[in-house]
Symmetry: D2
Subunit: 334 residues, 4 copies
Amino acid sequence: MIVILKEHPEQTQLDHLMGWLKEQQIEVHPTVGAHQTILGLIGDTSALDIDLISALDIVDDVKRVQEPYKNANRKFHPEDTVIEVGGTKIGGGNLTLIAGPCSVESEEQIVGIAKEVKASGATILRGGAFKPRTSPYAFQGMQIEGIRLLLKAKEATGLPICTEIMDASQLPLFEDIDILQVGARNMQNFSLLKALGRTRKPVLLKRGMACTYQDLLMSAEYILAGGNPNVILCERGIRTFETYTRNTLDLACIPSLKKLSHLPIIIDPSHATGKSSLVPSMAQAAVAAGADGLIIEVHNDPAHAKCDGPQSITPDAFDSLAKRLHRIKDALAD
Amino acid sequence: MIVILKEHPEQTQLDHLMGWLKEQQIEVHPTVGAHQTILGLIGDTSALDIDLISALDIVDDVKRVQEPYKNANRKFHPEDTVIEVGGTKIGGGNLTLIAGPCSVESEEQIVGIAKEVKASGATILRGGAFKPRTSPYAFQGMQIEGIRLLLKAKEATGLPICTEIMDASQLPLFEDIDILQVGARNMQNFSLLKALGRTRKPVLLKRGMACTYQDLLMSAEYILAGGNPNVILCERGIRTFETYTRNTLDLACIPSLKKLSHLPIIIDPSHATGKSSLVPSMAQAAVAAGADGLIIEVHNDPAHAKCDGPQSITPDAFDSLAKRLHRIKDALAD
Amino acid sequence: MIVILKEHPEQTQLDHLMGWLKEQQIEVHPTVGAHQTILGLIGDTSALDIDLISALDIVDDVKRVQEPYKNANRKFHPEDTVIEVGGTKIGGGNLTLIAGPCSVESEEQIVGIAKEVKASGATILRGGAFKPRTSPYAFQGMQIEGIRLLLKAKEATGLPICTEIMDASQLPLFEDIDILQVGARNMQNFSLLKALGRTRKPVLLKRGMACTYQDLLMSAEYILAGGNPNVILCERGIRTFETYTRNTLDLACIPSLKKLSHLPIIIDPSHATGKSSLVPSMAQAAVAAGADGLIIEVHNDPAHAKCDGPQSITPDAFDSLAKRLHRIKDALAD
Amino acid sequence: MIVILKEHPEQTQLDHLMGWLKEQQIEVHPTVGAHQTILGLIGDTSALDIDLISALDIVDDVKRVQEPYKNANRKFHPEDTVIEVGGTKIGGGNLTLIAGPCSVESEEQIVGIAKEVKASGATILRGGAFKPRTSPYAFQGMQIEGIRLLLKAKEATGLPICTEIMDASQLPLFEDIDILQVGARNMQNFSLLKALGRTRKPVLLKRGMACTYQDLLMSAEYILAGGNPNVILCERGIRTFETYTRNTLDLACIPSLKKLSHLPIIIDPSHATGKSSLVPSMAQAAVAAGADGLIIEVHNDPAHAKCDGPQSITPDAFDSLAKRLHRIKDALAD
């Protein structure tokens, strides 16, 4: 961490700061120029509160040199995290396909789609039971009944289940669910993150619409610091000025997050684009960029899906896409 | 609502859509061009699921003409909502000053600041007990003890209290709190919004960092639709490319939200700018633009505040600012 | 185009608007509801000035249904545009590799790199002579001498040249240049676009940092409407909140622009990411998403490049990347 | 400037860097930690090319501590710049009102509006002759004839003229124009900026839609470094996700730019909001935040303006607004 002092800092205040930093086990190296003094701070600065230091009268600016996250940091955990769920491995060079409908609508629907996506190579079933909707008047999901039907589909196909949890109070309902999804709008719901840190369940953490890589990794850090090492990062598009697509899919997050962190990264091309016609090309691009997996909306009757229909692809389209994705993955090997 | 059909829509699908819309009590007026057919939908379209219609094979695009919110809509509630709390009125031409420290730190601190801001004209005390922080390693607030100290300050000064609630499970702790604040990162925590809709407590709802006016009003709609009419909108800056300020304060929201909605609007210049030196001019600008009030961070010792110190102003600065704000308000009257 | 009228529009003003629209050869279909009247406009609305209509007292809002661009529109030109330059075809299923240094620095450098990238499969040489820099104190390129050296490299290798033009007054200098590049910051320099519309030179038009697909296509429309059909679209990243990468590469533009327009699309992963380590994965992703080509910075000594060094890859890295790109392209065919 | 080295930097490369920096008259102070070495650079670093240093193999990151602009920097020019034009002073505590129509349409129109806004206290006339429009099919202004009519209005009223220049080649036409406006889309048209730096004409430089304060000041630096000290900064709204307003007016730029720079700051509430109903409150807010002036679109018949009608206010509305603005300015004095 670097602390840039204002011109002519008061000496007693400077001594006070230097003393306090030493108490925190931080070594301080000052660089004194004609107009400016810079303090180089060496040691474990991740626990230092940057706001506290910025607030001091004698301080002009503070810049971090080290990342403020530790458990999520590749520097301290060079090996890829690999998460096992129901016989499938996420991370470490595997290509995991998570597929299923936006919302669970009926037993017939969810079991039917589960069988189809399994046949095409998906190893995890997705499906919404509790649905966060921007309008209170829109369909909010089948809720508890939706969870029950997802477990029926798991029984019928053996596929582990990934579905969204909206509030810590719902945890008991998710006991048999394999992966707990945290939605983009809840990425900084710190109460929920802390509660998930106390479980050992795999968490699929979606990047918020206006959040940076560092914001995402800090939210992951909440879960990891709580003791749960099973975090899967998920990019689902960020908000930009473009309105043709629902969001803008940021695929540079794949090599970037892989450099910054050891956690696996899954891409959601369905929510990112909001248009089924764009899903295959974005899924292909994600694999070509090195993603650990994809989460794709598949619906046997997109035109009558209860929500997010326009972004779902058919089981047939998923089947040919899955084949193409594996060919692209093979093409990457030099 | 306007439905734009694809070229040459299949007739049976079109008949099916027209029939379904009639069942929803919607009148349909088609406009048929050489290359394009447009359906004008007349009636209460706020309950129509726009995604459902967009998903149909024959539909190219759907555009809303009416706002998707009803309870928050000025069109259906032309009169300003005025919210009374502890003898103070928010909305309807009043200028309400909410002031206090970012975080409660001790009884002496909170009671002391409360007395000072009251003397300068603040009629509501703010202070954080539960603090949402992006880092799990940063100070998370005094929590339950913080709530207790806020109530001490209320007892000592008579000022009603505004403080942040982070999770629906905390509601019992907030029984004696006067205004429940929902933070920007929780603006679309729909579980929390629904729970607040079941209370009758005034809610200060902060706009999310990447949210539009409509997003904010839809979140207000969640609370209003639940039966709680006491919603106060709050702008605290949105995320932009600018990094000199913490966020970008969007003051055009004041006349815009006043046109779209009847709910009062409070501006938070402290979080918006993140710099105490910018707080007075932004507070002045907010009043000149017609804000119903301000929520301002005031700390007797900003350099040692436990969090957000750089954006707090001193009680003295608050005192002279408050006088200026009232002079500006008077200057607005033609 | 759809015109939404205010409640109770004045009849004489409405008659005036209807009359004026008929004069413009536009058919008007009104939809009259209890609270709202909507006018459906059928005909060629691309020449209607949306601002003019919005300005009318009786008009609440105007929404376009048709795209405001015509020459760039796939609807009116269903066939892909294929641009031939120096024996290479851009568009129509080809994968064109444009490569070279950020800046021309010496004859030895530019001829050397040209030979290397040609050997690896590049068919067009890029290199900056006039460099737009945000600081007046940064290296501004070799300018006229740079153009001369690029033509030397063309002579030595036969590769056609792509380089940036910053102002219409420079056109005479670019007579022997094959592709004129318009930088992101000049995308809406309408004087330059009009001048380029009067030539027949291929133009590589880079998307502005805060511009939408429609903005880009409107800028292309300026060139096309001037009579020059040779426009190549180029995505080089947009500005977002993320600061880890220089910009955010929006690869969904590939299938989107291909649907909206018939013009070829080239991706620039070097400027988009600003980091050489991210260039290969983003180039791979672009090909997997269906790009018509790539423009990549290659420098034999990135650490000593005069500008943009951190985003250049070495000739060796380019060589193995080019091989991988062709394998990915092959993997896309079903 | 601070240079953060990679772990275990190669000694010869480090020596090479240290030597080169010394040649540039830069003092280097290293801070050596167990895992990290930081170099503090003291001296005039504004001429150092940050990209050059970042490109070095041994360098992990470079952070600026000093601003990269010098002529525009308040630190080196503590006094406010005051620009005199036609008897009016811009900057230094004055409140300058620039008003007039979006576009010049006829002699009668421009002379008529000029007289009205002068009577209400405007001291500079604005009016577009060359209009940058996103569509090639939209009205592009009266061009040379527009300039002629503006000069007629100057003759009739004595008001100095502010109008937009789109290209350096137009300079001879602007000989009698008092203030040359550079539009937001041309803020980084460096050819134009350099040409303006060679004149001594006052330049009203509009902030680009996705540009930061530093970007704006760097563009001002281009003009100042060329020898022209007469730069007026202008905020006209930035692009955000909000679509209700045309842009988002960032009023925190006023105190921020006043701190960073000595140049005057003018606010354009008309283009910022795109809605005449929002112009008065935003103009009031700008004055309350300390703006040096306003540039406001006034049209005697907004509903028939040739462009940007929806954002123009009437002369009557301007008259009562001007009175209110002066009352607000008076209210600011403690």
